[in-house]
């Protein structure tokens, strides 16, 4: 293995001091002279036509400076992706309880809230549809009856609530099922999930003296916010500067335009800066969470344990507006396995609920719960050890992945072996205790990435990227620059960026920053180093390839005293024929580079209450190279905790009649706390990636995928009951122990209808 000077060391975060002293500034910390406060009126109806909105009483309230409704915005739809299916503020209709209908700017927050209460909206109710399986059916109430007229519209099927259908096929599935020794089918259902970030959405907008708009935002994607904001305000994006502030958690929820348009328009109307901070209740009701995913899986297996065919139908509820997730229905329908014949379908269905948002590899955790529970069920039914069954079918280097790409070298088998060894599997546990495993995979995030590095006269370097720091990514980028430039971490200044200052880059999400943005930093650092070497070679009169660098110096390899420090070279460069030293890099995407994680849970089940106690959690991930092992471990643990919450307690509940969120608070939406967790055991294997910076791989997404299936499988091992619906609550486990049907319903009938629509035999 390569020896590193900076990487593979536990370096403290570059922003540790400002974070622990409370000096780091978040969007809510921005205070400007004359700043007004914004509050939002939320729809009280699930599905209704807006007959009229009377804002006169609100406008007359002393302290109120402006009130806006959908009519104040240009009549332009936008969307999370290509399909533009929503207005930034409701225009003629509301599609869910909680949808913003009007916004107020007032001199203080309480006046703004009072003004909200004075706005009269007259609605004419329409029939809502809340259940995605009902929404799929022909004849269901149509959420977007004019969908065909929307920009980016692709197709509709029958009722028109299906806004996406993705497919992936290979081989002859029906033939393979007919020839398989066994065929198994299962239906699984995951639950609604809130991202649970601690910092609510917040932003401040101000119109500058030159007429440009500045927005300080809590966002993972400043360039995405800029583009979408320009679109809904119908102004050139060059008129907008987005300043991403410190991020108090996003997990995907802050990838796109959220509420920035309201303060922006109110600032344009009043001439004053306007701030908006969501309440926690608004975070739950107005801001896209994840909706339940229903998964039907059918698998053909031979007696030797080889999987020969898979059919998967996944139904994503996207709420009122299409968002992320459906891609994972086909991208992760096989799991981490090589399956020669498959038919995968992924449907997105509209319902009258809050629109779906992104969350830590949207949809993949739902897919992993289904696939890895199904794998466990099959292993037990054919009498094979669950780990051996996985290993037998695991995808290997050279196989062709579901997306058609060749699988590169990877550490999947090493991860399974490490978990097996740590726990001593297979293992007999006492009565009421059990162990379960899950295998997770993620394709790694890529996308456009840029970086620029300039060398300062004191030998430090300034690193500029457009990416927002997310779970310590600035520290990792600084480490990569330091390693490549032969300097210490403390010699790298990470610039605070905004959209005017930094070159365009993709958002901070999808485990993309270290892997892809880090690659751009590595390349920019190489460019910088080449320029440093060229200048040194010129001044020393030696060829550049005779030079090496270490500890902040560039010198002749055979004669170390002959050389210059980076500071000396930077000072010389100013008047050299090359000019000041600036390195930069841009890349569009990187080849497919899956990352794998094996996870295992040990549980104890209380047979009288059904309560599941997690007693041990082990995970092993192939990280390629650990840029900063302490930070990698932190991400792996954090991800596992989110997955454990998803497995056991987190559950966004929606009213079955109205679609309203029933538990919009941290008192009723239960994320795990320290007392609920065992010591997390985190292992890493290092099979360097082919393209990542110094061989590093994406880290953040996979750890959260495994816990629901690993824990469900452990419950089965402990007490012999199979729970196919999340969360794995005491109530569900107890019902299953008593043989009562707490299980998710089989969705065969719905599938027949879908298959007929597709022209397949029902």
């Amino acid at each position: 293995m390569t020896t590193f000077k900076v990487l593979e060391q536990n370096n403290p975060r570059v922003d540790a001091w400002e974070k622990v002293t409370g000096r780091a500034t978040y969007a809510g910390d921005v205070y400007l002279p004359g700043m007004l406060m914004c509050k939002v009126l939320a729809s009280s109806r699930s599905h209704a036509r807006i007959v009229s909105i009377d804002t006169s009483k609100a406008e007359a309230l002393p302290g109120v400076r402006a009130v806006i409704t959908g009519a104040d915005f240009p009549e332009i739809r936008f969307g999370s992706g290509a399909l533009k299916d929503r207005y930034i503020l409701a225009r003629d209709k509301v599609y869910y309880i909680g949808e913003p209908v009007a916004a107020v700017a007032a001199e203080d927050e309480i006046t703004a809230q009072e003004a909200i209460g004075l706005i009269d909206v007259e609605y004419e109710d329409l029939e809502p549809v809340v259940d995605p399986l009902v929404s799929l059916r022909a004849g269901a109430p149509s959420v977007h009856p004019d969908l065909e007229s929307y920009e980016g519209y692709g197709f509709t099927i029958e009722g028109g609530n299906i806004c996406t259908l993705l497919d992936a096929d290979r081989g002859d599935v029906d033939q393979a099922f007919a020839e398989a020794d066994y065929v198994f089918e299962d239906t699984f259902r995951s639950q609604g999930i809130n991202q649970g970030f601690l910092e609510p959405m917040a932003c401040v907008a101000s119109v500058e003296a030159n007429g440009r708009l500045t927005v300080w935002a809590s966002t993972q994607g400043p360039y995405q916010v800029r583009a979408q904001l320009a679109s809904v305000l119908d102004m050139p994006l060059s008129n907008i500067k987005v300043v991403p502030m410190e991020l108090g958690g996003g997990f995907g929820a802050k990838l796109r335009l959220a509420f920035e348009a309201y303060p922006a328009l109110l600032a344009m109307k009043t001439g004053n800066p306007v701030k908006l901070i969501n309440t926690r209740e608004e975070v739950f009701t107005l801001n896209g969470p994840r909706h339940p995913v229903t998964n039907y899986l059918k698998t053909g297996v031979n007696k030797d344990g080889a999987i020969v065919a898979r059919e998967g139908y996944t139904i994503f509820d996207v709420g009122a507006y299409l968002g992320a997730g459906p891609n994972s229905g086909i991208g992760h329908g096989l799991g981490a396995y090589d399956i020669p014949n498959f038919r995968l379908r992924s449907y997105a269905a509209y319902t009258n609920k809050v629109y779906v948002g992104s969350y830590r590899a949207s949809g993949v955790a739902d897919m992993t719960f289904a696939v890895e529970s199904h794998m466990d069920i099959i292993a037990h039914k054919i009498g094979m050890d669950p780990l051996e069954f996985r290993l037998k079918n695991a995808i290997k280097e050279g196989d062709i992945a579901v997306n058609g790409s060749r699988v590169p070298r990877n550490g999947l088998a090493e991860c399974l072996a490490a978990v097996k060894e740590r726990l001593g599997l297979p293992r007999e546990l006492p009565e009421g205790h059990g162990v379960g495993i899950a295998l997770c995979e993620w394709r790694s995030g890529a996308g456009p990435s840029t970086a620029a590095i300039s060398v300062n006269e004191d030998g430090t370097v300034s690193l500029l990227t457009g990416s927002v720091d997310i779970s310590g990514s600035d520290t990792s980028l600084a480490s990569i620059a330091a390693e490549a430039l032969c300097i210490g971490m403390d010699q790298v200044i990470v610039a605070k960026r905004d959209t005017d200052l930094a070159p365009f880059t993709g958002p901070s999400g999808g485990s993309r920053i270290v892997y892809s943005q880090g690659k751009a930093v590595e390349l920019a650092a190489e460019d910088t180093r080449n320029k440093l070497f060229a200048l040194a070679a010129d001044r020393l009169g030696v060829p550049a390839d005779a030079l090496v660098c270490a500890e902040g110096r560039v010198y002749v390899q055979d004669n170390p005293p002959q050389g210059y420090t980076l500071g000396q070279l930077a000072a010389m460069s100013v008047n050299s024929r090359f000019g000041p030293i600036v390195g930069n890099a841009a890349l569009s995407t990187l080849p497919y580079a899956p990352v794998f994680s094996a996870q295992a849970a040990e549980v104890e089940v209380d047979k009288e209450t059904g309560q599941v106690k997690l007693t041990r959690y082990v995970q092993c991930q192939d990280v390629g190279v650990a840029i900063n092992p302490m930070a990698v471990e932190g991400q792996l643990e954090g991800g596992a905790v989110q997955g454990i919450g998803r497995a056991l307690t987190e559950d966004m509940l929606f009213d079955p009649e109205t679609g309203a969120v029933r538990n919009p608070s941290f008192a009723t939406y239960l994320m795990p706390l320290a007392l609920d967790l065992p010591e997390l055991e985190t292992l890493m294997v290092r099979v360097p990636s082919e393209d990542g910076p110094f061989g590093a791989r994406a880290v953040a997404e996979p750890p959260g995928f495994g816990p629901p299936a690993a824990i469900a499988n452990a419950i089965y091992d402990a007490v012999g009951v199979r729970i196919r619906e999340l969360p794995l609550s005491g109530e569900r486990v107890l019902a299953a122990l008593r043989g009562e049907g707490s299980d998710v319903a089989y969705i065969g009938d719905e599938l027949d209808e879908l298959k007929r629509a597709e022209g397949l035999a029902g």
Binding site: I110, Q113, E114, T279, E281, E604, D606, E608, T609, Q611, K613, L648, T649, L653, R662, N663, P664, S665, A667, T668, L670, P672, L673, L675, D676, S729, G730, E731, L734
Partner: protein
């Protein structure tokens, strides 16, 4: 209205006059751990008083005293943390100490008061089953002077109490336990801390001198009816009997039958009834151990009380 006038009560008389003057428009607060949450929320159940009367500064209402003659006296402003860590409470009123330790988290326990927990009158209040099981009496002071009321009569419905306009709860009195008494509170909630009880059960067992026959049994249930209440039929099944596993099982079943829970976001009525039975049996088993003289360290009691850490 989100706006309110914040009125600092200088003394008990001042507090009473403020509450009397502003009536339904006023709300008394001490730790404010319930108030701030309910004030911020927008949906049903929100509190939007025009006047907030701060009684936290009233002197003398935070004391916890014990004497063999008078039993335990809890000033209404005693914090849940003070009750949890009080040596006499831990020694003689285990169900109250375990009720307190299962309450929210340390930061909230440091602010929340027992008087607030009682006056909030949530069916799920964690100190309430133990207070009921120990036959707590409420000392109330109002414009007409002081009065005493058994806690069983204090709760009128979810969030509703017997307090009249201008009245304040000032103290709770728990009679001294007789020898050979043991008790415990067990809470069922999905999370190990910072969670509201799906079901809470407190049981108190007093044994006869023979160490086997039940002299007295008291069982109180939380979160399974409009108010926390005593399961009298279950208690009567145990009094005068030898406490065999069968006897405990019958009492647990009677407690289950006494419960009238609802379906809500924390669980269905059916599951709550199941939990009443399981938790009643468990509380009786542990109360019996303690009554029989077995030493159960507080840390073990704590693990028992918080169901997730069974």
């Amino acid at each position: 209205m989100l706006r309110f006038d914040f009125l600092n009560a200088r003394n008990l008389r001042h507090a009473i006059s403020l509450l009397e003057r502003h009536g339904d428009e006023a709300r008394a607060v001490a730790g404010s751990t319930d108030f701030l949450v309910r004030w911020r929320q927008s949906g049903p159940g929100r509190w939007r008083p025009a006047f907030v009367v701060n009684i936290k500064g009233l002197s003398g209402l935070g004391r916890i005293t014990y004497s063999p003659q008078n039993g335990l006296r809890l000033g209404a402003l005693a914090t849940v943390q003070a009750i949890e860590t009080n040596a006499q409470v831990r020694r003689r009123y285990q169900a109250l100490a375990t009720g307190a330790t299962s309450f929210a988290g340390v930061q909230v326990r440091n602010l929340a008061t027992v008087g607030g927990n009682v006056c909030n009158a949530s069916p799920a209040g964690d100190t309430l089953p133990a207070l009921l099981a120990f036959d707590a009496q409420c000392a109330i002071v109002g414009p007409e002077g002081p009065r005493m009321l058994p806690l069983t009569e204090f709760f009128q419905g979810p969030g509703r109490t017997a307090l009249q306009q201008g009245e304040l709860l000032t103290q709770l009195t728990l009679p001294p336990p007789t020898p050979r008494t043991g008790s415990i509170y067990i809470k069922h909630s999905p999370r190990g801390a910072m969670d509201i009880a799906t079901v809470g059960v407190a049981s108190v067992i007093t044994l006869e001198e023979d160490g086997a026959t039940c002299k007295d049994a008291r069982i109180a249930l939380g979160a399974v009816g409009p108010v926390p209440f005593r399961a009298s039929e279950a208690e009567n099944l145990l009094k005068g009997r030898e406490l065999s596993p069968d006897a405990l099982g019958q009492a647990a079943e009677a407690a289950r039958n006494a419960a009238t829970p609802i379906d809500d976001v924390r669980g269905t009525a059916a599951y709550r009834k199941d939990m009443v039975e399981a938790l009643t049996r468990r509380t009786l088993q542990h109360a019996l151990r303690i009554a029989g003289g077995q030493r159960v360290p507080f840390e073990e009691q704590r693990r028992l009380a918080v169901q997730t850490a069974f």
